[in-house]
Symmetry: C2
Amino acid sequence: MPARTPLDANAVLAATEEILRRHGPDKATVVDVARALGVSHAAVYKHFPSKQALREAVTRRWLDRNRDALAVIAADSAAPPAQRLRTWLHAVLAVKQAKIRQDPELFAAYGILAAAHSSVATDHVADLLGQLTAIIADGAADGSLRTDDAEATARVVFNATAKFNHLAHAAEWQNPGVGAELDEVCNLLLEGLRAPTSP
Amino acid sequence: MPARTPLDANAVLAATEEILRRHGPDKATVVDVARALGVSHAAVYKHFPSKQALREAVTRRWLDRNRDALAVIAADSAAPPAQRLRTWLHAVLAVKQAKIRQDPELFAAYGILAAAHSSVATDHVADLLGQLTAIIADGAADGSLRTDDAEATARVVFNATAKFNHLAHAAEWQNPGVGAELDEVCNLLLEGLRAPTSP
DNA sequence: CTGGTAACAGATGTCAAAATTTGTAACCTG
DNA sequence: CAGGTTACAAATTTTGACATCTGTTACCAG
């Protein structure tokens, strides 16, 4: 007896996200997902080649949402690049803090993928580095930020703010002082990036 | 029958370090330590109140050795403070890289304590921050580094180099490019700390 | 009273059997 | 033939009995 609803990949994804949210990444099974959809577990394998692929697809979806939200800040040409850099770095932190509070289970799923060196994680970092590069290149273009190579400088800034963007520090992000710490690091980095007033 | 050798706390410590090194922090038991010393495990509890305390004492010992080695660099008044800052940050990384290679089990024991927010870990960080503060204060004194508050600036520099000193990044320290990355971060930070040539 | 012992209860770890899950295959059906 | 089914082998997780470990107590010797 074929299922009444055609069951497209998107429905599987939505159900998986819900199961993941409810059960957490360790306990969520594809049998659970299938049960939630009212089909046999073999049916979900028609749409995704493996459990890993399912997890990656769900995670990639919300990472992409984050990326798009941050891209708005990175591309906001109304703000001067130095200001935009600071705002963007704070936003990266804020987005992840919010996710931890709202969807700790989905965040944990991302952590698992990152630890496994999944392309989902490396691609996400590449996306963020791209946005950072764009901001710094804008600053180089209008002369407000000094850099030889916007991409290299972006990597340096990203490394110097690892405490505020790398998952390994997620536990510390609950600390109330973390925003102020980031602000102080921004101050120093922006001081270093500021084009000298007189050479 | 009392033991022939009096068994002081130091002997217990040495035996524990050996067991820890051989078995790793997960498999090392105080029964093992007692067996190595030829006493009952209750005897060990005469010298240390708990297994946790034993682990902390061993770990504190090698952290103190590291601290002392780094203090030599921090206090080397022959090198200008900016240079000393760079050398010291590289040394912090190098010391930990070396420990991971030579004594991965002891390093893992330190990781466990840090994750448990043991005072051993927080004290170690405080020690390092103290050395960093001293270097920056030296720079402020001779006018080569610009800072309002050496201690606050030390915290900022420490945060900005978290990727190269925080245990959470230990896995990444195997990567060959890590030294170069630290160097680039140092370049930017020193640029930011450099007193302006003309105000 | 310092420093050791043996004996113990409760927590924790181990290990193999049982159950569940993953992924595949062979098979329906509109 | 896209999309579903049941049936099944292999991998993984759970379970539960058992062993070991942790920390305490009561006791002993110099």
